[in-house]
């Protein structure tokens, strides 16, 4: 992590690799898997146009040709079924959607077919398919380009859901997703695309179902999902100014969910704040807190808070949009009250809060 005072923490050099952007890590992971396995193909509206899904499919068409990298009619419903059928026949499709909101057009195929095929056909078929989609934020993304709808997929047995928040996990999770024999909903965030982390050149797998502890602290546990993992790191920097040390955990994989790592931390700190990149109602934050709460905790009770999108549609105007999202200052303020409930007035220095946006997670991984 690059901290506010500019000091880089130690990284374990052998695995660190070169600095790579999240967007390039995605493209590199897919290219390496396409190289390794001729069954892998990439399809979806605009994967082969000049913008290449904000660069995340860059280079694939040139290397692997239009037989393995091709656009589609919009037809999200049929194109999802198409991938499921190809996967059942032994191929390994990667279906790309430039916004997660568009997955609502794929729900029948994802929920009724992809998730259930292995089970309802008695284990005789598999659906090794990756469904990539990107959550948008800022510059008027608004109602239908901003939604983090992953909890809908977490609800359904048979789907894996992964939402990496840094370039290292983006590459490792993408390779794991392509090699997985199940449908994987791969959730990206537009604002993470330019963020950099050390990423090994060679292919590697980030195992699903293992949360990543991004920062250590004994006062408070903060869990941040997708882009909110980065916002929580920024909040932790601000809390450090007030002498509060936070554990920051990125679940990375939402289904299966590594609740043990979160419980372990929350048992130590006694305070758990879950910050979601989505609404709180019936969301991932509800699930995480429920699973922590229903575990018999021997030593101490845990106090909970959660944050997420305002319970509204996302507005486009920045005046309202900034109120819609949790931000580092607000996360820090909630964290502070959780640790020092008697002292509710603290909020971070606005100048420090502004600076906190320089924080990126860069390991160690």
């Amino acid at each position: 992590m690059s901290s506010l005072n500019g000091k880089e923490p130690a990284t374990n050099g052998a695995r660190a690799g070169r600095m790579l952007r999240y967007v390039d890590a995605l493209a590199e992971a897919v290219a390496q898997e396409m190289e390794r396995d001729p069954r892998v193909f990439v399809y979806g509206l605009d994967v082969d146009d000049h913008k290449r899904i904000q660069g995340s499919t860059k280079g694939l068409l040139e290397r692997f040709g239009p037989e393995r990298v091709f656009t589609t009619p919009l037809s999200e419903d049929a194109m999802t079924g198409f991938g499921i059928g190809a996967a059942m026949a032994g191929m390994r499709p990667v279906h790309v959607h430039i916004r997660m909101d568009f997955l609502m057009l794929c729900m029948n195929q994802l929920v009724n077919m992809a998730a259930k095929a292995h089970y309802m056909y008695g284990g005789t078929v598999k659906v090794p398919m990756v469904v990539r989609s990107m959550i948008g934020k800022s510059w008027g993304q608004g109602a239908q380009h901003s939604q983090g709808l992953y909890s809908m997929f977490m609800h359904v047995p048979g789907l894996k859901v992964v939402a990496p928040s840094n370039a290292y996990d983006a590459k490792g999770c993408m390779i794991a997703a392509i090699r997985d024999d199940n449908p994987v909903i791969f959730v990206e965030h537009r604002l993470l695309y330019p963020t950099e982390a050390p990423v090994p050149v060679e292919p590697f797998v980030v195992e699903f179902g293992r949360a990543r502890v991004m920062r250590r602290g004994e006062d408070l546990t903060i869990v941040g999902i997708s882009n909110m993992a980065v916002e929580c790191l920024r909040a932790a920097e601000l809390l450090a100014d007030a002498g509060i040390a936070a554990d920051v955990i990125d679940p990375v994989c939402l289904a299966p969910l590594d609740v043990d790592t979160i419980i372990q931390s929350a048992e130590q700190t006694g305070r758990l704040l879950v910050v979601d990149n989505a609404w709180t109602n019936c969301g991932a934050s509800a699930e995480i807190i429920a699973r922590v709460a229903e575990r018999p905790v021997r030593n101490r009770s845990i106090r909970f808070e959660r944050m997420g999108f305002a319970p509204t549609t996302c507005p486009t105007t920045p005046a309202l949009e900034q109120e819609f999202y949790p931000n580092p200052a607000r996360i820090a303020a909630v964290g502070y009250r959780l640790v020092r409930p008697g002292d509710g007035k603290w909020s971070p220095d606005p100048r420090r809060a502004e600076l906190s946006y320089q924080v990126q997670f860069r390991g160690p991984f």
């Binding site: 009619p73 419903d77 049929a78 079924g81 195929q109 284990g123 024999d181």
Partner: protein, 322 residues
């Protein structure tokens, strides 16, 4: 309206009759057993519609693939799906084709080229198309036949699939079993434009309307459609087979007293019944041999289902993930 059977050689007729008789008798036995509650699954019987699946599947190779619907018993059996595993599946037994986890609406037999069927109308059509894409890439000349009903033509996904299959020249035969009803609602209450062939051809693939009772003509149409697909010379084709569901939408009974259709509607279809007509083209000895063999197969399927055990409780949590 149905007008009967086209001509075919004796060997073909015997083969077709065997499959027609199997699909008919299997379901009649299912209907007989159903009131005993031994069958643990809703059943949507194909009775009356069998010639479509039988005709199309007779034009397919063993390594070709079909996809079906929740009214998919005939397609499963016609393609060569395991009858014992199917009956056991209906009984909810461990020996079922989906180990008792799918039931009648989710029949599957990958070894015999039967993709799993679905209870959501139209949902297997794009999956069949994706399978056809994989088969085209495989390059061994295999094809897919996708069965669906007239109701599926009201789902957007069908038209999305037709467009993509035509665009990519995928080796898939779309087979619409038009029985005139979606559950209990007639086409008159559902379609603004009645000419399905005109709609389909506008999407860029050849389509023709057929008498769904004429098993020989359906077989011939399917054969001439899939032949050029195997070489990659031709893309997808579409046939609309006019047919009639003799029993209720779901369950073992007739429902002509329910008020939404009359028994008179059934009469021309019953008169053109392919099982009866093709059977009548065979000599009595040949016919007897075929029928006894099928009766034995159906009996064996029932006893296999009876003897198969219920799944172990641990099966509940297996196969959630591969």
């Amino acid at each position: 309206m149905p007008d009967g059977a086209s001509r075919a050689d004796g060997e073909t007729l015997e083969r077709l009759y065997g499959k027609l008789y199997l699909t008919r008798r299997f379901e009649e036995v299912v209907a007989d057993i159903y009131p005993t509650d031994k069958i643990k699954s809703p059943v949507h019987l194909s009775i009356g519609q069998e010639p479509i699946a039988v005709g199309v599947c007779d034009a397919l190779r063993a390594d070709d693939v079909v996809s079906g619907t929740y009214r998919g018993h005939a397609a499963y059996l016609a393609k060569g799906g395991d009858a014992k595993a199917m009956m056991a599946e209906l009984f909810g037994k461990d020996g079922g084709c989906a180990r008792g986890k799918g039931g009648s609406m989710h029949l599957v037999d990958i070894a015999h080229g039967v993709l799993g069927s679905s209870a959501v109308v139209g949902s297997t059509v794009p999956i069949a198309m994706g399978y056809a894409f994989a088969l085209k890439r495989e390059g061994r000349g295999r094809v897919v036949a996708a069965f669906f009903g007239d109701g599926a033509t009201e789902e957007g996904v069908l038209w999305e699939s037709l467009n993509f299959a035509a665009l990519h020249k995928l080796p898939i035969l779309f087979v619409c079993e038009n029985n005139g009803y979606a559950i209990h609602e007639p086409i008159e209450k559902r379609w603004a434009a009645r000419d399905l062939i005109a709609k389909v051809t506008a999407f860029g693939l050849p389509a023709s309307r057929m008498d769904g009772s004429d098993v020989v003509a359906i077989r011939a149409a399917a054969a001439s459609a899939v032949g050029p697909m195997r070489t990659g010379a031709h893309g997808p084709s579409f046939i609309e087979c006019l047919t009639y569901r003799w029993r209720e939408h779901v369950g073992p009974n007739a429902d002509f007293d329910a008020g939404y259709r009359s028994r008179a509607e059934l009469e021309p279809w019953a008169a053109a019944d392919a099982v009866t007509r093709v059977g009548a083209m065979l000599g009595p000895a040949v016919r007897h041999t075929i029928e006894s063999e099928i009766e034995r197969q159906v009996r064996d399927a029932v006893s296999f289902a009876e003897q198969s055990s219920m799944p172990a409780l641990s099966e509940l949590k297996t196969h959630v993930f591969a």
